[in-house]
């Protein structure tokens, strides 16, 4: 999948792939051409990505090749012991979690799971969790508190699943309880918005001492499409709604909703996992280190103050 605004860049990338292939097989070498093309690609990617509109950013945040929770686990963690089930109903795959080791730091990792293939997405419901996903996350957070390890929560969801069974099993209650419990959890919580921060489904595992955001991720109370169809009565006005909703990392930092932006490589995190992931890992470890020195009680007091002051009064 490629996005319209990326077309010139993607075309160059395709050309490049061709040249590299030719270079392997033919006697004629294209080294100079390749070097030149590389330079051109860099400048175009920089130009395109330095001034994305909010709507373009939404598309990058949803990009099918964007790093997902399984990529972060592979790329950042030397160990992951997945834990399953909410002990009430089942095991949701829209939110996964377990013990994880990042360098020498042991954490409880939770997060939304999207997939890259159709099969993966069906299994994880496109990252739209059911109540049992939120309840599993809570169970694991409580376990983290008990074991005195920090919680790392990775956010990437279009929203909580809007289904009949989800309502019957208390989607609202599951999210509400998490918000309340996360406010008083006596262990550090670091939240990273890695892709799509979709409304209640995102904040349901998104209350933390530190909230970080990748530079091309978004976080919003409603999808631009949904907002456009309600307030503009026209779904095609999504780009305008994306603008109005102030859902980019930069806007959220200004609004005091997030604490730090993790810069993605030029061309977006989907272009270079090897550049994107270490930056995410380094930032997480830096904050975990700082938070490890604060007592549980002090953390909850600070967390309360952090959320109490959102809004301008």
């Amino acid at each position: 999948m490629s996005m319209d605004f990326e077309k010139p860049l993607v075309e160059l990338e395709e050309k490049m792939a061709e040249l590299v292939k030719l270079n392997e097989n033919e006697d004629v070498k294209f080294d100079t051409e390749i070097a030149e093309l590389e330079k051109k690609m860099k400048s175009i990617s920089k130009k395109t990505y330095s001034k994305l509109t909010p709507w373009q950013t939404v598309q990058v945040a949803r990009h099918s090749q964007r790093p997902l929770i399984r990529d972060y686990i592979t790329g950042m963690c030397s160990e992951f012991i997945e834990l399953h089930g909410d002990r009430c109903f089942g095991d949701d795959q829209g939110i996964i979690g377990g013990f994880a080791k990042i360098d020498d730091v042991r954490v409880m990792l939770i997060g939304h799971q999207k997939g890259k293939t159709v099969e993966e997405n069906i299994k994880s419901n496109f990252g739209m969790a059911n109540p049992e996903g939120y309840r599993k996350a809570l169970r694991l957070m409580k376990l983290a508190e008990k074991y005195r390890i920090p919680v790392l929560s990775l956010i990437d969801t279009p929203g909580a699943y809007p289904g009949l069974e989800a309502e019957a099993r208390g989607q609202a209650e599951a999210i509400a309880r998490n918000l309340m419990e996360m406010a008083t959890l006596e262990t550090p919580i670091v939240v990273v918005i890695t892709g799509e921060g979709g409304s209640g489904g995102a904040i349901g595992i998104g209350v933390g001492d530190v909230v970080l955001m990748l530079s091309n991720s978004v976080y919003s109370v409603i999808s631009p499409e949904g907002c456009a169809s309600i307030l503009w009565r026209d779904g095609s006005k999504a780009p305008v709604a994306a603008d109005a909703l102030k859902l980019t990392a930069e806007s959220l930092l200004e609004l005091g909703v997030i604490d730090e932006i993790i810069k993605e490589p030029s061309g977006g995190a989907h272009r270079s996992y090897s550049e994107a992931l270490p930056a995410v890992k380094e930032t997480i470890l830096r904050h975990l280190e700082k938070l490890s020195k604060v007592s549980g009680r002090k953390l909850t007091e600070r967390r309360f103050d952090k959320y109490a002051k959102i809004g301008r009064f």
Partner: protein
């Protein structure tokens, strides 16, 4: 999390003739009821027992002892953190119009008062104010009232009526879910009663935050309570939903509310429950 997505929440009678002025059409069963009877009956349909929306002032009058209400947080009003403009104009203007229409400064009224002589703190949402949506002013008032209840060790009662988050305040609205729940969490830790009354309608971000985490969750007959909108769910699962879906009765059946209480018995119910606090 939109507001205004249920046909039932719209007033049923639009065209007004002289004779229609005397009648109220029940939004649920469409029975014609004399206006006088409708109001005397606390806006409860005598035919189907549907409990129609009350204004926040009507609710205060219904629950609290006469003359005991003192408003708190009256200085908090709407803000426009996003400087939001949509297809129909500026949110700031829309908020001003809502203030003018209702005489309220936000979608919730907060204060203290007494129920049968017992001191309590109460927050009452008003659906007339931008669909009872959860603005940053709403969150601020609900949190401040919770903090007042905590400080004075008084039971906290919140009456919800809301379509959910307020889109015009974007992410700042979403954060009010976390903010209000942080306040409720402190009450729980301090063992101070928190009773949630979910009235028609309580949906979206309000149902998924403070409204659903009472020590006791109660509702009124026929109230609409749910997270996602009916239409969104139907479009997602491509299936028609049962008629009683997301009603108070449905939630009682599924274990999410403790009791459905008739409006006329609400005050007594609250009084009886509060008597169990520190009864030992």
């Amino acid at each position: 999390m939109g507001w205004f997505n249920r046909s039932r929440s719209k007033p049923a009678a639009q065209g007004k003739t002289k004779s229609e002025d005397m009648w109220v059409v029940c939004p649920s069963c469409e029975a014609h009821v004399f206006k006088e009877e409708w109001h005397k009956g606390l806006k409860v349909c005598p035919k189907c027992n549907f409990h129609d929306r009350l204004t926040c002032h009507e609710r205060v009058k219904l629950i609290l002892d006469t003359g005991t209400w003192h408003e708190l947080g009256g200085s908090v009003s709407t803000t426009d953190p996003l400087e939001f403009v949509d297809g129909k104009g500026r949110y700031a203007d829309k908020a001003e119009a809502a203030k003018e229409k209702t005489g309220l400064n936000e979608s919730v009224l907060t204060g203290r008062g007494k129920i049968s002589g017992r001191r309590i703190v109460m927050a009452v949402m008003d659906f007339r104010f931008l669909g009872g949506s959860l603005g940053s002013g709403t969150g601020e008032k609900i949190l401040r009232a919770a903090t007042y209840a905590l400080k004075h060790k008084l039971p906290y009662i919140v009456v919800s009526a809301s379509g959910g988050a307020r889109m015009h305040e974007g992410i700042v609205s979403l954060m009010q879910m976390a903010k209000t729940c942080a306040g409720i969490a402190r009450l729980h830790k301090a063992r101070i009663p928190y009773i949630s009354i979910l009235t028609h309608p309580t949906t979206g971000g309000v149902s998924a935050s403070y409204a659903m985490v009472g020590d006791i969750n109660i509702s009124e007959p026929g109230a609409l309570i749910g997270f996602a909108g009916r239409r969104v769910i139907e479009e997602t699962i491509k299936q028609k939903l049962p008629d009683d879906f997301q009603t108070a009765e449905y939630l009682l059946d599924h274990g999410f509310i403790d009791s459905i209480v008739n409006r006329s018995e609400m005050k007594d119910y609250l009084m009886n429950v509060l008597r169990y606090w520190r009864a030992r």
